[in-house]
Each structure stands twice: as structure tokens, then as C-alpha cells.
């Protein structure tokens, strides 16, 4: 464990350069380049906003901003996008880098860190764009927005912890990635992002509160739309769960390491 951290420290410059490379090459051959990282979730938000406000006439309580629903949607999406990007990319990180792992010796734990770093940067750009839109539609910043960095950190931690475990498992059982793609879609709809939790029947809403992503996304929404503080208690529990998951993930990773290249 200590050795792992030392190795990461020794490779810190490599991790930073790789994050930079990663951001550059992901969109290297498209004209709009990294703008796509922002455009995609924003477009998704716009589609939901049109479908749900115009077609379904969704309403939110306790606001008088006519863009309230759009703000609600984008706030939740900002959190969800970070989580799902980290999980999806960690999921295939070892499989995608098979040829590298077979040829070079380096601390493999760098790979999920690079992915987390690059997803984090992407998400910060998206968050900046989202905030720009909020201000444009009249949702002015409050002191509560200062909780955002904490929310981002918790989301990243939770995503990384889950992604590391799944990524290691996926090396040995490739179905994990396939299953997770479906699970993540389901998970998205089980998280109140495009709808408000109060439209659900009581017992259903109760179950949904066990979903960690509910606490995270609704904290984003509370902070950004209603100017309320996040749900500290639930978030604290999520941090605890994430730390346990991360420790389990590291242990799994260490135990699986010798076998990893054999099956890649």
C-alpha cells in the first residue's frame, strides 16, 4: 500500500502528462476538439428539457424561475456525467491498455488515476459551461455554490472506487463491461435527474433514497437551483462507503495484479 503510493508519487509527472495527452487525443481528429466533451452532455440536457417541459409539461415545486426545470436537469447531469464517465472508463481501462501492460513495466495503478484526472478536467469544463448557462437564464450564484468542489470530489471518489473494482473484474470476466452499460442506463433512470422525486409514489421514493447517486445528484440540484446546503449526513455515509469500496478495490487490484497480464 505504502509502496503503491510511493510509486504514484514517483510517477506524478507522468500522470499529469498523460492526462494532458488523453484530453488532446480523445478529440484529436474532430474539428471541434474538446468542445465535444461539453457539447454532448449539454445537448443531452437540451433534449430532455424540450421533451419533458414541452411534451410532458414537467413542473418543479418552490421556484418561480421559468427555466427551473432546465437548471434542475443540468445540475443533476453535471454530477451524473462525472460519475458515469469515471465508471465507464475505469471499467475498460486495463483491457484498453492491454498492449501497454504487456510491454512496459510501470505502476499500473497510474491508469485509473489518469482516467479520473482526465474525467475530472472534462467535468470542470462542463460545470463551467453549465454555470455560464445558469447565469444567463437568471439563476445567480449563491454562497451555497461553494459546496460544489466538495460535491465534485465525493462524486469522483465514489466513481473511482466503484470503477476500480469493476475494471479489475472486467479483465477476467468481460461480461462485466456489457452488463454495466445496461446497469448504468437503468441507474440513470433510477436517479431523479430528469424527474423530481416527489412525483413518485411514497414507498418507491423510499427505496430510491438508498441510491447513493440520488444523494449526490440531488445535492447538486439543491445547491445550484434552490441555494440550499447539500445533504451532509447522506454524503458523509457515501464518503464512508466509497472509502471502504476503494480499500476493497485496492486490495482486489493488488491480489489480481499477477494474473492480470496472463488473461489480457
Amino acid at each position: 500500500m505504502k509502496l503503491m503510493l510511493l510509486a504514484v508519487w514517483h510517477y506524478r509527472h507522468f500522470i499529469f502528462t498523460s492526462i494532458k495527452n488523453d484530453l488532446r487525443t480523445r478529440f484529436a481528429r474532430s474539428r471541434l476538439g474538446a468542445t465535444w466533451a461539453i457539447l454532448q452532455p449539454l445537448a443531452q440536457g437540451a433534449i430532455y428539457a424540450i421533451v419533458f417541459t414541452r411534451v410532458l409539461g414537467a413542473k418543479l415545486p418552490d421556484t418561480n424561475n421559468k427555466f427551473a426545470y432546465a437548471i434542475y436537469l443540468l445540475a443533476g447531469l453535471a454530477g451524473w456525467t462525472l460519475f458515469s464517465e469515471v465508471v465507464t472508463r475505469c471499467l475498460t481501462i486495463f483491457v484498453d491498455n492491454a498492449s501497454l501492460l504487456k510491454k512496459m513495466v510501470f505502476p499500473r495503478i497510474c491508469l485509473p488515476l489518469i482516467v479520473s484526472g482526465s474525467s475530472l478536467l472534462n467535468n470542470l469544463f462542463l460545470l463551467a459551461a453549465t454555470i455560464g448557462i445558469f447565469i444567463a437564464v437568471g439563476d445567480y450564484p449563491t454562497w451555497m455554490w461553494l459546496w460544489l468542489p466538495l460535491l465534485v470530489a465525493i462524486t469522483l471518489l465514489f466513481g473511482l472506487a466503484l470503477g476500480l473494482i469493476l475494471g479489475v473484474l472486467n479483465v477476467f470476466v468481460r461480461d462485466v463491461a456489457q452488463v454495466m452499460n445496461i446497469v448504468l442506463q437503468l441507474w440513470f433512470w433510477l436517479t431523479p435527474i430528469v424527474y423530481a422525486i416527489n412525483i413518485l409514489p411514497g414507498h418507491f421514493a423510499l427505496v430510491l433514497r438508498l441510491n447513493p447517486m440520488y444523494a449526490i445528484c440531488s445535492s447538486y440540484q439543491q445547491v445550484l437551483l434552490w441555494g440550499n446546503p447539500p445533504h451532509f449526513k447522506t454524503l458523509g455515509a457515501i464518503v464512508l462507503v466509497s472509502i471502504v469500496l476503494l480499500a476493497a478495490g485496492m486490495l482486489l487490484f493488488r491480489k489480481a495484479s499477477p494474473d492480470m497480464v496472463d488473461v489480457l
Binding site: 510517477y11 507522468f14 487525443t25 481528429r29 510491454k103 512496459m104 477476467f172 489480481a256 497480464v261
Partner: protein, 409 residues
């Protein structure tokens, strides 16, 4: 040559299959299950390599050469046994180094150097040297996807060898490059060796093994079959390749301490072989340029539809100097009967440089010994060439020039 930089003891690598992957996973936490299948790619490998030694690893496909190098490098972990390594290892395993096709050569070089654990300052100092050594001009700043495989090898080799490692591991990679770069990289490897780098080298090119290595290890089905001088091991390996069906490889230790390898079905064998001078006397020492005759008598033990005789003169390192056969000279014999004796006389001037040489002979039905190998015999004859009355020269070829020297102005 005193300290072992690489110490391998009882090394084994098995690839295990489990019917259900969760059984493998439970194994990490102490609950072991029997694997459904287990393939030992290497087993019971033990050897030591000393500082400055250069070892060639040879063997047929699937013998475990690449697995061995991966284990030493550390990308694969051994199933049993230990590998002790003293010093920094640099390795080129197969092609490409996991380069990113969208990054330029320069960025990939930085990336790989980072992967090798270099600090940013160190990377900045080596990059100009990498660019200079790779010699790919402005391609260095083009995305890697525009590169030929030879150019990728150039960049890979230049980065990996930018700083002299204690142990350099090369797996075939250099066979992809062009001749010019191959020479250039060989020169760098030789330079490293002089400074004490140990080389571990997998190649199918006998020439490269003979000229670069002072020791060779022959792997066969995951075991060390032979560990010795490169010529000896390569001769044995050649015979082994020719001998896939009935293993009749035979090694005789000559009085000189060298090992003579022969193989084949023995349907035709070389009975006598000798080197004679112009007056018909057998000779062992020959003057540079002296006319000689190589006489070989071959006996047939069975009726053979077609017989080709070939011979090869090799230098003391086993590098071919000259070789040909009666297929190429249009003198193959057809329809031979059992018991017949065939004599071959090859007259030629000894236009080779001073040194010790050997003759290998081959009897087969075609121009290669891989189809019907009746007999292949290495070190069938040894002789020495001495420079008795020529101007001093070096090299294995005697190419006497007419030199004109004029003072002008």
C-alpha cells in the same frame, strides 16, 4: 564477469484456465480451486547471467522465448521460482511499445520515457538525443499513425536505449527495421556491452546471435535444452529444425573441445572429407589465395531419387563465409542406388582472410535441408588460413586491390 546481474532459479510459468472465473478470484483470497486446465509454458528454468554478458535466446515458435523475456522484464509474474535482477532493465518486447497513434513521435517518446520512470528534467535532456538517433526527420513531429513499422522501431529503440541500462532485453524487434538502422542499433548495443551492459536477445537470425552474443540458450518446450557457445547452440538448433520427425541429432565432442553436430536420416552420408593442395597433398594450413581442392566422398545407404550436395565454409564464430550446393550449380544427381559412392571435388583459390575455419556439409534431395535431410554435418572439417606472403590485411575476404596513389599539385 564476476557478479551475476540476473539469477533465475527454478522458474516456471503456467497459464491457468478455470471453468468459472470466480474460482480464480477466490484463489487470490486464499481459497484455492483446481484449475480446469494448466499450460506450463516454462518450467524448471535456472541460469545466471553475468555483468557484460550477451546471451541469445533461441528456440522454435512456442518454445517460451518471449514468455521468458516478459518474466525477466516483469510484465508477467512467475508462477514458481525466482528471478533476481540487479540493476535497471530496459526492454523492447515485440513491436510498438504501446505507442499512441494520435500522438507525435516526440510525444510518444516523452510518454514512453515517463512510463520508464524518468523525471521531466531527464526526459527533456534525452529527447534531442532520441530525435537525433532515430533519424526520421520531420516525421518526429507527425502523428504516429503516419509511420511505417520501421520508423516505429527506430523511435522505440532510440527511447529505450537513450540511457544505458544494466540489462537490455530485445525481443525480435530489430528484425523489423531496415538494414541501416539495424547496423546503427547493433553498434549502440556493442557500445553498451563495452560499458558493461548485459544483453538478453531473442532472434531467429543466426547471424545476429553469432555476431552479438557470447552465449546462447536453446529453449525447447519450455525447458533449457542447451546452454553454451553461440555457434554450438545454433548448429544444434539448425539440426533440430531439420529434424522434426525422427530425432537423430548427434553431438560428438571433437579433440579441439568443439561440439560437432550432425543430423539426418543417414540414407546418404559423407564418408571422407579432406582439403588438398595443388600437388594433391592433404593440408590443414593454407596460404591466403592458394589454390586448393575440397574432396568429399558420399555413400548411399538406400536408393535415392535425387541427391544434392552442399557445403559451407564458416569462420570461427560460425558466420557463413561461402556456401553453395550442386542444385545451384546444376549438378544434382538423379536415380541413385543403395551402396553407390559419389565423389565431389571442389577446386577453388583460398581467397579468404587469415583465421580458423570450418566446413559444414549437407546431403539432401533439394536445395534446402528442410525437406529430405539425409545428412547435415557441422564442423565436418577444420582448417586454418595464414597470411604468408601477402600485404597485411584484415577481414574474412581476400579481395586484392590494385591501388593507385598519385600526388597532385
Amino acid at each position: 564477469m564476476s557478479t551475476a546481474v540476473l539469477k533465475i532459479e527454478g522458474l516456471g510459468k503456467a497459464f491457468r484456465e478455470y471453468g468459472m472465473e470466480w474460482r480464480r478470484m477466490l484463489g487470490w483470497f486464499g481459497r484455492r480451486f483446481e484449475p480446469t486446465s494448466e499450460t506450463w509454458v516454462l518450467r524448471g528454468i535456472s541460469f545466471q547471467v553475468f555483468a557484460g554478458e550477451s546471451v541469445g535466446i533461441v528456440g522454435q515458435n512456442g518454445a517460451g522465448k518471449s514468455t521468458l523475456l516478459k518474466l525477466v522484464t516483469g510484465t508477467l509474474r512467475p508462477t514458481e521460482g525466482t528471478i533476481g535482477v540487479a540493476g535497471r532493465i530496459a526492454a523492447i518486447l515485440e513491436l510498438g511499445m504501446g505507442f499512441n497513434p494520435d500522438l507525435t513521435g516526440r510525444e510518444n517518446a516523452r510518454y514512453t520515457a515517463g512510463l520508464m520512470g524518468m523525471s521531466p528534467e531527464q526526459i527533456e535532456t534525452i529527447i534531442p538525443a532520441v530525435e537525433e538517433f532515430a533519424e526520421i526527420g520531420e516525421y518526429f513531429d507527425q502523428p504516429l499513425r503516419t509511420y511505417s513499422s520501421g520508423m516505429q522501431v527506430r523511435v522505440a529503440f532510440s527511447v529505450v536505449t537513450a540511457v544505458r541500462p544494466e540489462i537490455l532485453i530485445i525481443d525480435e524487434a530489430l528484425s523489423v527495421g531496415d538494414a541501416y538502422f539495424a547496423h546503427k542499433s547493433m553498434a549502440r548495443i556493442r557500445e553498451f556491452r563495452k560499458q558493461g551492459t548485459t544483453l538478453l536477445f531473442v532472434s531467429h537470425d543466426p547471424g545476429a546471435i553469432r555476431s552479438l552474443c557470447d552465449r546462447a540458450i536453446l529453449l525447447e518446450r519450455g525447458k533449457v535444452l542447451m546452454d553454451g557457445g553461440p555457434s554450438e547452440v545454433m548448429d544444434y538448433y539448425n539440426a533440430l529444425v531439420a529434424e522434426k520427425e525422427n530425432a537423430t541429432v548427434e553431438v560428438r565432442h571433437l579433440a579441439s573441445g568443439k561440439a560437432q553436430t550432425s543430423s539426418g536420416t543417414r540414407d546418404a552420408v559423407v564418408e571422407t572429407i579432406g582439403l588438398f593442395n595443388a600437388s594433391g597433398e592433404p593440408v590443414e594450413f593454407v596460404n591466403v589465395g592458394e589454390p586448393v581442392e575440397l574432396r568429399v566422398q558420399a555413400r548411399l545407404h538406400r536408393a535415392i531419387p535425387r541427391l544434392v550436395f552442399g557445403y559451407m565454409i564458416k569462420d570461427r564464430l560460425g558466420q557463413p563465409v561461402f556456401g553453395t550446393n550442386t542444385h545451384h550449380t546444376g549438378q544434382a544427381l538423379d536415380g541413385l542406388e543403395a551402396g553407390q559412392l559419389v565423389e565431389y571435388r571442389m577446386a577453388f583459390p583460398m581467397n579468404i582472410g587469415p583465421g580458423s575455419y570450418s566446413v559444414s556439409t549437407a546431403l539432401s534431395s533439394t536445395e534446402t535441408h528442410l525437406i529430405d535431410n539425409y545428412e547435415w554435418r557441422d564442423l565436418a572439417l577444420m582448417f586454418n588460413v595464414a597470411n604468408q606472403n601477402r600485404n597485411l590485411f584484415v577481414g574474412t575476404a581476400w579481395v586484392p586491390p590494385i591501388i593507385e596513389v598519385r600526388r597532385q599539385g
